[in-house]
């Protein structure tokens, strides 16, 4: 019940081992449950009670965590699990049929269980699935049997830049073996950290400020300002957290970055740690990115071995230890305060702000939470200089950013582009144009929590002008659709995602996302009426005005922009 109560010994050897490995503090609750979930196929009543007793955490709290995360099974489920991605791109690429085929195979073979999952971050392998913890795709219409037999498919590599791409953050890209620190070092890894360590902490922040780097997770907060707040916080421990909980539908840039060049991310964390005076860094990576987590752990091991992480880095007085913390299936944990709650062993419900993490973050200490791309870019800026960074992009939005392109275009995938290109340039130059015989109808930019963009907005530069025009860049995910799909149907899939991923804390998001999805179902099935449209607008208004966190407020954006920019598509469903 209380931390100071002596820890009762558990007689359950698996729990005892889990506690030994993860630690006994309540912070370790999620890792402990993850271990037991893996060993036992889920979490039974008895497991919840035993963990409660062994960790001295109230049973209700264990229950709350055990039922919050989608990768934990409460109660245990028999069989191995295939999670078929429900993401927008997978849906567009036939995930529904793929899931039905897999269900049929699973029923025939026994020992398998097929479930749905929110976007797995494998949009470049759509339709994709997670088979236990193996990432799998693209699954061919007749490929279900292969999946059950162990086929996974391969990760696309983004080794060579397309003409016109500006590789800065992803400069080393896939030209190196991500498992080899030697190759990374030969290609310049940790030179940014070396530069940082040769100067003052303030100089690092100044470099980032000069570069004008803004957060790449979606919110776009000036990175240097965040670092400075933490650097100037009163004495005491502080933390650097790499937000690798990339779960926004249409977005897989962080995954590619981590699996291509893990050291870029670790270097960025160390640079940040040096700048803000932190000695500990944590990578919070989504649980579905197990191979990427392993790669990062290996990279950390190598970096420590070579003296680029750990105690007294590169002979300096600066020590910085990094470890990897796996999420357990919850989009909301990409919200930085929900991430902190999750790291502290609780349900991933966002915290009240203020105080902000920069003042009161992990374990109540000043904490930088930065996106993967942001940190990797920071390392590159230190290595190549702020001027090199400012040489690309727009003066008011300098540098490059990663975009993930998908939908009805010729070439899907990840590109690193100078800031300020228009959507038309991006589609035509890097997406190869619309797929044969099709015309652009709309795009969804910035992920599911983004905006519907109409054809008359294609020439708006994706810089500050985009914001004024009501076009979200967000985390760089772009879905391009032709006339074969209705924006209302895409909106319905986006709302389905929010309904699945709402933490349930606040009224508008808990009830509004679910009811908006039901309203869209009604409309799409032809049962809707004009009242449903008014209702949809009211849900959007309440989500935007009254939600607790960004998940709810941004869930309003696709509704609002779809309604504004494609009114006829809605009216048609009503008058039908």
């Amino acid at each position: 019940m209380h931390p100071s109560v002596p820890q009762p010994e558990t007689r359950d050897p698996q729990i005892a081992t889990a506690l030994e490995r993860a630690g006994r503090s309540p912070d370790s609750l999620l890792p402990v449950l993850q271990m037991l979930n893996r060993q036992r196929g889920g979490l039974s009543d008895a497991t919840v009670r035993d963990v409660s007793r062994a960790m001295n955490v109230p049973a209700e709290r264990v229950e709350g965590v055990a039922t919050f995360y989608s990768l934990l099974s409460r109660p245990p489920q028999a069989g191995r699990t295939i999670r078929v991605c429900d993401g927008l791109t997978c849906w567009l690429n036939g995930a529904t049929e793929c899931r039905q085929a897999l269900e049929q195979h699973a029923a025939e073979r026994r020992g398998w269980r097929v479930t749905r999952s929110s976007c797995l971050g494998l949009c470049d392998r759509a339709p994709a699935a997670l088979v236990e913890d193996r990432q799998c795709g693209p699954i061919a219409p007749d490929g279900a049997g292969d999946v059950v037999d162990g086929w996974t498919g391969a990760m696309p590599t983004y080794g060579d830049p397309l003409p016109g791409e500006a590789r800065f953050t992803l400069a080393r890209g896939r030209r190196i073996d991500p498992w080899s620190i030697d190759e990374a070092l030969a290609a310049g890894a940790y030179s940014g950290l070396r530069t940082a360590l040769s100067g003052s902490q303030g100089a690092v922040i100044e470099a980032i400020e000069t570069a004008g780097l803004t957060g790449r997770g979606g919110a776009g907060f000036p990175t240097a300002r965040k670092w400075r707040m933490v650097a100037e916080a009163p004495d005491g421990p502080r933390f650097v957290i790499c937000n690798a909980d990339e779960s926004e539908p249409l977005t897989f840039k962080d995954r590619v970055l981590m699996e291509s060049d893990p050291h870029a991310v670790l270097e960025g964390m160390a640079v940040c740690g040096y700048a803000v005076g932190a000695a500990e860094g944590i990578v919070y990576i989504r649980g579905e990115y197990e191979p990427q987590a392993r790669l990062l752990e290996a990279a950390i091991g190598q970096a420590v071995e070579r003296g680029w992480l750990g105690g007294r880095i590169a002979g300096s007085g600066f020590s910085f230890h990094v470890h990897v913390h796996r999420g357990a299936g919850a989009y909301i944990c990409g919200e930085e305060t929900a991430l902190l709650e999750s790291l502290e062993g609780r349900r991933g419900e966002p915290r009240i702000r203020p105080p902000y993490p920069a003042a009161h973050g992990f374990r109540g200490q000043p904490t930088v939470v930065n996106n993967v791309e942001t940190l990797a870019t920071a390392a590159a800026i230190l290595a190549q200089g702020a001027e090199a960074w400012r040489a690309t992009g727009l003066p008011e939005a300098p540098g490059t950013r990663l975009f993930t392109l998908q939908g009805h275009i010729r070439r899907s995938g990840l590109v690193e582009l100078p800031c300020g290109l228009t959507l038309r340039q991006i589609i035509d130059t890097f997406g190869g144009g619309m797929r044969p015989g099709s015309r652009f109808q709309f795009a969804l930019t910035g992920g599911a929590a983004g905006t519907f963009v109409s054809g008359d907005q294609l020439d708006v530069p994706l810089g500050p002008a985009a914001r004024q025009a009501g076009i979200a860049i967000g985390s760089g995910g772009i879905l391009v659709c032709d006339e074969s799909v209705s924006p209302v149907a895409v909106l319905r899939e986006a709302l389905h995602f929010f309904e699945q991923e709402s933490c349930g804390k606040c009224t508008p998001c808990r009830i509004g996302t679910a009811q908006a999805r039901r309203t869209l179902d009604r409309l799409l099935s032809g049962d809707g009426d004009a009242g449903d449209l008014r209702r949809l607008d009211e849900f959007a208004r309440l989500l935007r005005n009254a939600s607790f966190c960004g998940l709810g407020t941004s869930a309003a954006d696709p509704i609002r922009t779809a309604r504004e920019r494609f009114p006829d598509e809605f009216e048609r469903l009503v008058s039908r």
Partner: protein, 955 residues
């Protein structure tokens, strides 16, 4: 740092750290909210409290938004009403009621206020089972849950119990108990905090559900333990249908325990005594029963008959055998006014100091010990003070979360919120040990050794407060020599506490000051009770913890008015206000105040009022015949009644047949007593031995004051009319006094001699006139809401939350050298187990009220005996099976609970159940030589499976 902002155009002050909602609330501006509550942490989930800020594009949640300089806040606008109605309609969509609570809920109120309608798109099916939990007190229907999580936070932050939690996510989010189980299985204490904070009907009072809206609420004080919680009795059709918390309650706020919130239905239990009863033989001429004869059958009579009978017996005994042939037991359950009247009846009318009450059995050793050390026997600090300011607490011999539950929750809060260090010394792993920094599990009856050992370690570390000892105490050197005889190794041998633990405890207590010492009957109910208390006084002087906020000596009094009953002199050795009967000046004072005159028989007698008006001052006073020798104690009077030395025993609301130790012996005494009057609300075990039963009213049917454990005088108010012919106890006592005086041909003469009270307020005025510590107490002040803790030396004095601040009542605090003595009876070959006794959360005292409360009886229906797993295996006892507990004095039938709460070799029983099931059949009546308190806490027993009843496992 304070600053200004505007709310709805008006300038308001705010402080750093306040939210907009907090500032508005403080200025009386209501902003609607469902999840927010001033007692609870901010959640920010319901979103109803949206307000507009000038310059902000979207409204903000005022519960979570910090107030800041220059903000311009608008709390009402058409747009805000739309947002709020929209939110309420979203909530209504997931909401399905199934009946009505006894008053409109907060949710219903806001729905009505904003005209929100259940939307057409609402769910059509119920999501959850209606009435989904078997908790006997709280009705659960999550179809009415809006997920505000007040219940979760109230359980964790107010009650410190962590029963409720949030499970699942998104639209499937729901409230669960523990690992998704039943409330009781999730360790619910049924305090009802969750229901009190619930703004909808999801968690509501089972007993009052669907009874209809109440007629009125009456604010009153709880009739159970000494914490003195206040709450509102909810009345419908002249019945108590529910109890609701009142945020203005001084001690408890919205907190209550299961007894206080749900244990009130005894008021209308069919067992209530509604008419006076006498034994048939008493109605015939010369029908007095000869000693040792069996008593005849009961006959219901009118009040005059009953009262005349009692008065004539009292007058006759007084006349024939002298004052000390009468004995009166007052009651810690009755009011100050009633206890005052009982002792006035004893002393003024009957001329005897033979008046005592059950304080004898709970804290007489505290009163004696603290009086010896400091000159005053009460709790020195306040519960709130200790909970807010103590850096450390030493809790010894107090199962606080069960016996003083609401103070127990305050201790939990102090640990959770402020990190207060808590050292618990108790032979059992009681619940509060879960919150302890250190639990010292010493053997029962080794408190002196333990405390001397701690003080040895403190002195050895030179951690004692030299300055305090020099300035404010005496007797230190002699004390120090005695303590020097208790080195850790020896203490470890005596107490069973490892040396390291002993030293750790000493370090914790010495290094965190102020440290509050808190104890209850684990300290007092020993043959060494007074010595135990002296040791605690020594400890607090040694560490300089006296007279400071957050420190002090804090005995927790057991019953609702045990403090007050002592204060007003229901004790054999003191007049009201602890004015010793041995003090000739005090005797004179009361002889004058209560003086009587011989009634002139020739004077015409028209009406009672005239007859009992104080006689003219020039009429000669007659001495009351009081001596300076203290009267007899409870235990002595019962004994004396058994052997005929006391011929008439008057028992007000006490139950010695059940609650005194060695009850077989007590019953024999009562059986043989010549004449017993019992004034009661229920036919208690003791009432079975009565010759006359006078039906009193329950606490809900009359008014008066109780004084709680921290010396706080509080009103309780009549909420419903008297049941049957029952009368308020104060009226019965006054009526009896008048009749005895009439028979004695005496009449009041002194200023406080009369018995014509219009009501309890007048009695309090008389108490105030005679009791220095109550001088400034009056109903007028109490009705005004003044919070008075005695001493209140004048009508202007605000009361005294902390005693002994500048100097002790006796001048210097006195150290007493105290040596360890073993308990009177220890386990041996024939009786190899050590029995310790106490109470449980769901019952109170002899259980006369709680066993007649449906929910309490349902949740704890059987007398349980706790036995360790080790002993259980050895004795062939399994959990839930009937057992027999035996000592040299008697046997108890019980049901075994096999639990590691008790150490091997120790068993624990309670005295809440009557007859065969009472642990007092077994306990030892050995007394502390000074305080005459019995050693309930230690005796030797054996435990065996009950072969005859073994077929029926009891769940």
């Amino acid at each position: 740092m304070s600053f200004r902002l505007t709310i709805n155009g008006a300038n308001v002050e705010a402080d750093g750290g306040e939210t907009i909602l907090g500032v508005a609330r403080r200025h009386g501006i209501e902003i609607p909210t469902l999840c927010d509550h001033p007692d609870l942490s901010v959640d920010g989930s319901c979103r109803l409290c949206l307000v507009e800020l000038a310059g902000m594009p979207c409204p903000v949640a005022s519960c979570a938004f910090p107030a800041a300089e220059g903000l311009a806040v608008t709390t009402e606008s058409p747009a805000l009403s739309d947002e709020r109605r929209g939110i309420l309609e979203m909530l209504l969509a997931d909401y399905e009621g199934s009946g009505v609570a006894h008053e409109e809920t907060e949710f219903e109120r806001w729905v009505r206020h904003y005209g929100a309608q259940r939307p057409a798109w609402a769910r059509s099916e119920r999501r959850f089972a209606v009435d989904s939990d078997a908790n006997p007190f709280i009705r659960v229907d999550f179809n009415e849950c809006i997920l505000c999580t007040r219940c979760v936070r109230a359980c964790a932050e107010v009650q410190g119990r962590f029963v409720w939690g949030v499970a699942e996510r998104g639209n499937d989010t729901r409230i669960v108990a523990g690992a998704d189980t039943t409330m009781l299985d999730a360790r619910c204490e049924s305090c009802g905090a969750c229901a009190a904070y619930c703004p909808t009907g999801a968690l509501t009072d089972r007993a009052s559900f669907n009874l209809g809206i109440i007629d009125r609420k009456v604010t009153t004080t709880c009739p159970y333990c000494g914490v003195g919680c206040q709450f509102d009795v909810n009345v419908r059709d002249d019945r108590v249908v529910a109890v609701t918390s009142n945020p203005a309650a001084p001690v408890n706020g919205l907190s209550l325990c299961v007894k206080g919130r749900y244990g009130h239905d005894f008021v209308d239990h069919p067992d209530r005594l509604l008419r006076p009863r006498v034994r048939r033989e008493l109605l015939s001429v010369d029908g007095w029963r000869a000693p040792r004869d069996a008593r005849g059958e009961w006959v219901e009579v009118d009040w005059d008959t009953a009262l005349d009978l009692v008065a004539s017996k009292f007058a006759a005994v007084h006349r024939d055998s002298g004052p000390d042939a009468l004995g009166l037991l007052a009651s810690a359950k009755c009011s100050n006014e009633e206890n005052y009247l009982v002792q006035k009846l004893a002393r003024q009318v009957l001329g005897t100091h033979n008046v005592d009450h059950c304080a004898r059995l709970c804290h007489s050793s505290t009163v004696a010990g603290l009086s010896m050390a400091f000159g005053s026997g009460a709790m020195s600090n306040s519960m709130d003070d200790v909970a807010e300011h103590a850096a450390a607490m030493f809790l010894i011999g107090s199962n606080v979360t069960e016996q003083h539950p609401v103070f127990g929750t305050r201790i939990r809060q102090a640990v959770l919120r402020r990190g207060m260090k808590l050292v618990v010394a108790d032979p059992r792993k009681i619940d509060i040990t879960e919150f302890a920094t250190l639990h010292v599990q010493h053997r029962p009856g080794t408190d002196v050794a333990l405390l001397n050992g701690l003080m040895y370690a403190i002195l050895a570390a030179e951690a004692h407060d030299r300055d305090f000892i020099r300035r404010r105490t005496e007797g230190f050197d002699e004390f120090r020599e005695t303590v020097a005889k208790y080195p850790p190794k020896l203490v470890a041998e005596i107490t069973g506490v490892p040396v390291e633990q002993l030293l750790e405890a000493a370090t914790l207590l010495a290094s965190h000051r102020p440290m509050a010492a808190v104890w209850a009957m684990g300290i007092t109910q020993h043959t060494t009770g007074v010595m135990n208390v002296l040791c605690l006084a020594n400890l607090q002087m040694l560490l300089g913890n006296m007279g400071v906020a957050g420190g002090g000596v804090n005995p927790l009094r057991g019953q609702n008015n045990v403090q007050g009953a002592c204060d007003v002199g229901a004790l054999p050795n003191v007049f009201p206000g602890y004015q010793a009967v041995t003090d000739a000046d005090a005797l004179t004072k009361f002889d004058d105040a209560w003086s009587l005159a011989r009634r002139d028989r020739l004077q015409p007698v028209s009406a009672d009022e005239d007859r009992l008006k104080p006689a003219a001052a020039n009429e000669p006073a007659t001495s009351l015949g009081l001596t300076t020798a203290p009267g007899q104690t409870v235990t002595e009077m019962v004994e004396a009644a058994g052997c005929g030395q006391i011929r008439a025993l008057y028992i007000l609301g006490e139950n010695p047949a059940s609650t005194d130790p060695d009850s077989n012996h007590v019953r024999r005494c009562l059986e043989q007593a010549e004449f017993i009057v019992v004034q009661e609300i229920f036919p208690s075990e003791t009432a079975a031995y009565a010759d006359v039963i006078l039906p009193g009213t329950s606490w809900a049917e009359r008014s008066g004051t109780f004084t709680n454990t921290e010396r706080r005088v509080q009103l309780f108010r009549q909420a419903v009319s008297a049941r049957g012919d029952a009368r308020p106890d104060w009226q019965i006592i006054a009526e009896l006094a008048k009749r005895v005086l009439e028979l004695q041909e005496r009449q009041p003469r002194g200023p406080c001699a009369a018995w014509n009270y219009a009501g309890p307020a007048e009695i309090m005025d008389e108490i105030a006139a005679l009791t220095p510590s109550y001088t400034g107490v009056s109903y007028e002040r109490l009705e005004r809401g003044e919070r008075l803790q005695w001493p209140v030396p004048s009508a202007e004095h605000p009361g005294t939350p902390i005693l002994h601040c500048e100097k002790f009542t006796r001048g210097k605090g006195r150290f007493h050298p105290v040596e360890h003595l073993p308990a009177r009876e220890l386990p041996d070959h024939d009786y190899p187990l050590l029995l310790t006794t106490g109470r449980v959360l769901y019952h109170w005292h002899g259980g006369e009220m709680t066993r007649r409360s449906r929910g309490l009886a349902a949740v704890y229906p059987e007398s349980l005996v706790e036995v360790s797993p080790e002993d259980a295996v050895r004795l062939g006892i399994t959990d839930g099976r009937p057992v027999i507990l035996e000592s040299r004095r008697g046997r108890q039938q019980a049901v075994a609970v096999v639990t590691s709460r008790v150490a091997a070799g120790v068993v624990f029983g309670n005295f809440h159940f009557p007859g065969e099931r009472n642990v007092n059949n077994v306990t030892n009546a050995a007394l502390d030589p000074v305080a005459k308190i019995p050693e309930y806490k230690v005796c030797a027993v054996r435990l065996t499976p009950d072969a005859q009843r073994s077929g029926k496992p009891v769940s």
